[in-house]
């Protein structure tokens, strides 16, 4: 008997009981759809996190102060006051001999209350050097960024992030030329940055930028920085630059043992890796749960196939009496269960893609569907048809024709 004939026969016997077929397939549809939707949403959020990290600047190394120990009490990482603007300048200085450094910026970040007229907001103030704009891809939509002159003169000027600007002055207002008050000092606004659409762990829209010297001397009276960003010329020289910066800072801080360093260097790849690990784990976890529903769907198919075998006992007996061999009966029933799961798989893939499109649209994620996840789901749903169809099919093939013919 040809395969096409078996296929046609299977299709006609499936179509006899449309409601039951549809309900049995539904389990597979839901399982496949959730696997597809969750994998693609996982990939989307991974991509979005990657984009955000990359939007902070490319080929970046971030130097942060380490913890500070005083009298055996160990402080929090980043709490030390060991990094200075001079460290940043030394890294860029050709006499330090670190090749591959493109640009360096230093910054001091604090949370502050900012007041403008009757409005106020709590935001992050960043004391920065002019190189900050270049290193971190910050552009102004109006006005200009902090200049070298602002830095040297300790000018009382500020550049607002768009979120802060709208919080203090309302949407669509141009605050350039107006003033804000921070820590009792009046700062004149000279620019507003372009929105990066940022969210998550470091929102570059919710920030005000002020010359580093102004923040250090005028606002807080300190002389350290809370981070130094080093931009490498390319990703190939990152390791080289990382080592060079490390040794230079150890030497400058008069430390001989690298394990006692009072700073830590974080490359962008480290952050990316950590973020990917988190989203990857989440995606795997959710897909695992979805896969369980696929297995439950498979059990539903097995159940329906067992019912079908019982219902068609006489027919199977007759076929065997007329000379159908076991293999043929098994093939016939396997084709039926694979048709059920494969069609469920196809429907599920379509539905899953639709779901992930709608969801990613609503929560503002890039929409991606991985080709592999589609192929995988289709393969898995087909496999489920074979695995869960095999037992009912074997049961059918092992029926004794005499018993089966007598069955009422």
């Amino acid at each position: 008997m040809e395969f096409t004939e078996l296929l046609l026969e299977a299709l006609s016997s499936i179509s006899l009981n449309k409601m039951r077929t549809a309900l049995a397939t539904l389990g597979i549809v839901i399982g496949t759809a959730s696997v597809i939707a969750l994998i693609s949403l996982g990939n989307s959020s991974q991509k979005s996190v990657e984009n955000q990290i990359q939007s902070l600047g490319s080929n970046l190394l971030t130097v942060q102060p380490g913890f500070q120990s005083s009298g055996g009490v160990r402080g929090a990482a980043g709490g030390a006051t060991s990094l200075t603007y001079e460290d940043a300048q030394a890294i860029l200085d050709p006499s330090a001999g670190i090749s591959g450094v493109k640009n360096v910026s230093a910054g001091l970040m604090r949370r502050v209350q900012v007041i403008a007229g009757g409005n106020n907001t709590n935001t992050e103030i960043a004391g920065v050097t002019p190189a900050y704009a270049d290193v971190h891809n910050v552009n102004t939509s109006s006005g200009s960024f902090i200049s070298q002159a602002d830095l040297s003169n300790m000018s009382k000027v500020a550049v607002l992030g768009p979120t802060v600007a709208s919080d203090l002055f309302g949407d669509n207002a141009n605050p350039v030329g107006q003033t804000i008050r921070v820590n009792g000092q009046i700062l004149r606004i000279i620019g507003v940055t372009v929105s990066k659409g940022g969210s998550g762990f470091q929102n570059q829209d919710d920030m005000i930028y002020v010359p580093l010297t102004t923040v250090q001397k005028q606002l807080f009276g300190v002389d350290y920085v809370s981070s130094i960003s080093v931009q490498a010329e390319s990703s190939d020289v990152m390791t080289n630059v990382e080592n060079g910066v490390g040794y230079l800072l150890l030497a400058r801080h008069k430390l001989s043992d690298p394990s006692k360093a009072d700073f830590s260097i974080l490359s962008q790849n480290d952050i990316l890796g950590a973020a990917n690990q988190i989203t990857g784990t989440l995606t795997a976890l959710l897909s695992g749960i979805a896969a369980i529903s696929l297995i439950v769907g498979g059990i539903g198919i097995m159940n329906i196939m067992l019912v079908t075998v019982t219902e068609r006992t006489r027919e199977i007996g007759l076929r065997k009496a007329l000379g159908a061999k076991k293999k043929l009966i098994i093939t016939q029933f396997l084709i039926e269960s694979v048709i059920l799961t494969a069609s469920g798989g196809v429907l599920g893939v379509i539905l899953g893609i639709l779901f992930s499109y709608i969801i990613s649209h609503f929560i503002n994620l890039p929409f991606t569907v991985s080709f592999q996840s589609v192929i995988l789901s289709l393969g898995v749903s087909g496999m489920i048809g074979i695995i869960f169809g095999l037992y009912p099919a074997r049961k059918a093939a092992n029926l004794q024709p005499i018993e089966a013919l007598r069955y009422e």
Partner: protein, 231 residues
Amino acid sequence: MIVVRDVSKVYKSGDVQTIALSKVSFEIKRGEFVAIMGPSGSGKSTLMNILGALDTPTSGEYFLDGEKIANLSDDALADIRNRKIGFIFQSFNLLPRTTALKNVMLPMAYAGISRVERERKAKEYLKMVGLEDRMEHTSSQLSGGQQQRVAIARGLAVQPSILLADEPTGNIASVQADEIMEIFQNLNKEGHTIVMITHEPDITACAKRIIHIRDGKIFEDAKNLHVRRIK
């Protein structure tokens, strides 16, 4: 062509043994028309299952065309049924929701005959049993007699050594029963071997030889001197 020698069949259910057939022996030659008769529980259905290679004897030997049918695998038995036996069941056993034509084509499909050839032969046999204008009807659109005629066409399809009929008229009206017997007699005249199991005397009377079975044993095996001819 059929040789049954000392065939016994014992069913065991726990400690209880039921002897369905006890040392039955007979031969049936090519071209015979034999009725196997007996009351219910006489063992005739068991005999029919063994003759039809649906079951194998507990002891004794059964040869079909010189081939010994014993201790064979399920698939080997299926193959023998397919090549050598044309079944006609009491309850017709056609595939439901399937046309007469497709029903007749089914055993030929299992025999590996090509689709075109299957269709040609199926039409030929349906014509032979007088159903040329009912080929595309499904079982539920046919009367009992017509369904049984489809079953006969199906039985003939693979040109078996014997046509094995189990109460072929048990489920149909007597007028139609006579039509079936007429077909049997015509087929027999053309040389087909027919073995028919029944308990109805006027159906038995159509055969040329009658084997009476009672309590699992052959009670009488004789030529029918007064064959009822249906014309």
